[in-house]
C-alpha cells in the first residue's frame, strides 16, 4: 500500500469515527433509555476491572517510590519523597496508567465482543427484535466507560499512594499519618481537578473506539481479532494525544 493510499485510509477512518461519535451524541439523549443494560455494563466495565487496576496501581506506586528514593537521597531531599510521589501519581501517572490498563482490558473486550456479535449476525437479530442495537450496545458501553474510568482512576490513585507508603517504609520509617499529611499538603486543587476531568475524556475515547472497531468489524474471526487489537492500539495512542492536549489546555488556563 502506498503512502498516499495509507493517508487516504487514515482520513477515511478518522471521518468514520467522527461520524460514529456524532451518532452517539445524537442517540444518547433520546429515549428509549437502556438503564438496566447501562448498569450491567457499569458492573462489567467498572467493578470487574477494579482488581487489575488496583494491582497495577499498587505496583506502580511502590516501584515509583523505590526508583525515586536513591536520587532523592543523593540530593538530600528524602523527606520530600511522599510529596513528589503524590504529585506525580495524582497529576499524571495515575490517570494515564489507569486509562492505558483500562484500554487494554475494556477496549479489547468491547472490540472483540461487538465484532463477534457483528459477524454472527447478533446485531442484526437485535434490530429484528425491536431493539436499536446502537443504543443498546454502543451508548450503554460508552456511557459506562465514561462514568467508570474516573472512579477507577481515583481508587487507583489511592491504592497507588498506599503502595508508595510501603515503598517509603522499605528503607525508612514514616508513619501512615505523616505520609498522608505530606501527600495532601503537597496537592492543590489545581493538581486534582484537571487530572480528574481528563479521565472522563479518556473513558470516552476507550469506549467509543472499542465500540467503533467492533461495530464495524469485517467478516470472519480474523476481523474480530483485528478489531480487538486495533481498538487497544488506537485507544492508547488517543489517550496520549488527549493527555498532551489536556496539559496544554490546563497550562493555558493557568492551572499549572
Amino acid at each position: 500500500m502506498s503512502n498516499q493510499t495509507r493517508f487516504q485510509a487514515f482520513l477515511s477512518e478518522a471521518g468514520e469515527l467522527s461520524r460514529f461519535a456524532a451518532r452517539f451524541f445524537a442517540q444518547c439523549f433520546r429515549p428509549r433509555y437502556e438503564v438496566s443494560e447501562f448498569i450491567r455494563q457499569c458492573y462489567i466495565i467498572g467493578y470487574q476491572s477494579l482488581p487489575l487496576v488496583g494491582l497495577t496501581g499498587f505496583i506502580m506506586g511502590l516501584v515509583l517510590t523505590l526508583q525515586l528514593r536513591p536520587s532523592m537521597v543523593d540530593y538530600g531531599v528524602e523527606s520530600q519523597l511522599p510529596a513528589i510521589v503524590g504529585i506525580a501519581i495524582v497529576r499524571e501517572i495515575g490517570p494515564v496508567i489507569t486509562a492505558l490498563i483500562f484500554a487494554g482490558k475494556i477496549g479489547s473486550s468491547i472490540g472483540a465482543e461487538l465484532g463477534s456479535m457483528k459477524v454472527t449476525e447478533q446485531i442484526d437479530a437485535m434490530e429484528v427484535s425491536g431493539t436499536n442495537p446502537f443504543k443498546y450496545l454502543v451508548v450503554t458501553r460508552v456511557m459506562a466507560a465514561v462514568c467508570m474510568l474516573p472512579i477507577l482512576s481515583v481508587l487507583s490513585d489511592a491504592i497507588s499512594l498506599y503502595g508508595a507508603y510501603l515503598g517509603v517504609n522499605v528503607r525508612g520509617a514514616t508513619s501512615f499519618h505523616l505520609f498522608w499529611v505530606e501527600v495532601i499538603d503537597s496537592l492543590a486543587f489545581n493538581d486534582v481537578l484537571p487530572a480528574f476531568i481528563k479521565t472522563f475524556f479518556f473513558g470516552f475515547a476507550v469506549g467509543i473506539i472499542g465500540c467503533f472497531k467492533g461495530y464495524n468489524s469485517k467478516k470472519g474471526t480474523e476481523g474480530v481479532g483485528h478489531s480487538a487489537n486495533s481498538a487497544v492500539v488506537l485507544s492508547s495512542v488517543v489517550i496520549f494525544i488527549l493527555d498532551l492536549l489536556a496539559v496544554q489546555i490546563t497550562d493555558l488556563l493557568g492551572f499549572n
Binding site: T120, A125, E127
Partner: protein, 250 residues
C-alpha cells in the same frame, strides 16, 4: 392448497453494492399459508433479498409491501410493528452468547413492548421450547448446545411472537443431513400448526423438495423461473435444470 390472501408483495426490486448489481427488477408475491423457497446459487443475492424484506437493507428501487403496508419508507417504530409479525431465522442462528436460552427467547417479547405478565412470558417460552423439543435446555447457555440444538432454539425464538410470516435464511446450512432433515420436518410442522407463510432461502434440494409449496429460482438477480417443485424438476431451461441435476447426482 389454494393461495388466497397476499401477505407480501415485492415489485421491481433493485439492489446494488457499487457495481455489483445483486437484485434486478425482482418481483414476487407470498400468499397466506404457503411455503415458498427461493432457490439460487451462493452469492446470487438470496440473503440480500430477505434482508431487504425485514428492513436490514434498504433497496435502491422498487417496493416491498408486507400486509399491504409499504415498508420502504417506514421509520423504526413502524418497522418494529411489522417486524413483530415477521419472524427471521438467521443462517448463523444469531443466538446471544451472553444470555441463557430463556433470556434469548424472552428478549423479543420484552423488546417489542408486548405487555404480558411474567407467568405468561414463562408459558410462552416453554411452549416455544416444547414446539422444538428442547424444553430441558431452558437454563443452558448457547455455547453448551450442539449446532442442531442451536438452530432449534433460534427457531423457537423466531416462533415466540407467533409471527404470521417466517423468513428462513438457509436453515439447513452447516448441519449434517439427518439434523437438516429434522429441521425441515420442524418447519413443516410449524406451518401446519400455526398456518404461517414462509419464505425459505436455500440451495439444499432436500429442503426445496420437502418444504416448498412453490419454488422461485433467483438467477442473475431476477426471478428467473417459478412453479412447484414437480414443475421445475422437468423444466427444459439449462439454468433451472442444473439445480435439479445436481440433486439427482447426490
Amino acid at each position: 392448497m389454494t393461495p388466497s390472501e397476499s401477505v407480501m408483495k415485492i415489485s421491481h426490486l433493485y439492489k446494488s453494492f457499487g457495481n455489483n448489481h445483486v437484485l434486478i427488477d425482482f418481483n414476487f408475491e407470498l400468499y397466506k399459508g404457503e411455503n415458498v423457497v427461493v432457490l439460487g446459487k451462493s452469492g446470487s443475492g438470496k440473503s440480500v433479498l430477505i434482508k431487504c424484506i425485514i428492513g436490514l437493507l434498504k433497496p435502491d428501487e422498487g417496493t416491498i409491501d408486507v400486509f399491504d403496508q409499504c415498508i420502504n419508507d417506514m421509520d423504526d417504530t413502524e418497522l418494529d410493528k411489522i417486524r413483530a409479525k415477521v419472524g427471521f431465522l438467521f443462517q448463523s442462528n444469531a443466538l446471544y452468547d451472553s444470555m441463557t436460552v430463556r433470556e434469548n427467547l424472552e428478549f423479543p417479547l420484552r423488546r417489542h413492548w408486548i405487555e404480558v405478565s411474567q407467568e405468561e412470558v414463562n408459558n410462552m417460552v416453554m411452549e416455544a421450547l416444547e414446539d422444538v423439543g428442547l424444553a430441558h435446555t431452558i437454563d443452558m447457555m448457547p455455547i453448551e448446545l450442539s449446532g442442531g440444538m442451536r438452530k432449534r432454539i433460534a427457531l423457537a425464538r423466531t416462533l415466540i411472537l407467533k409471527p404470521d410470516i417466517i423468513l428462513y435464511d438457509e436453515p439447513t446450512t452447516g448441519l449434517d443431513s439427518i439434523t437438516g432433515s429434522e429441521i425441515i420436518s420442524l418447519m413443516i410442522e410449524i406451518k401446519k400448526k400455526y398456518n404461517t407463510s414462509s419464505l425459505i432461502i436455500s440451495h439444499d434440494m432436500n429442503c426445496v423438495r420437502r418444504a416448498s409449496d412453490r419454488v422461485v429460482v433467483l438467477y442473475d438477480g431476477t426471478c428467473y423461473a417459478a412453479g412447484t417443485y414437480a414443475e421445475l424438476q422437468h423444466h427444459t431451461d439449462p439454468k433451472v435444470k442444473q439445480f435439479f441435476e445436481q440433486e439427482f447426482k447426490q
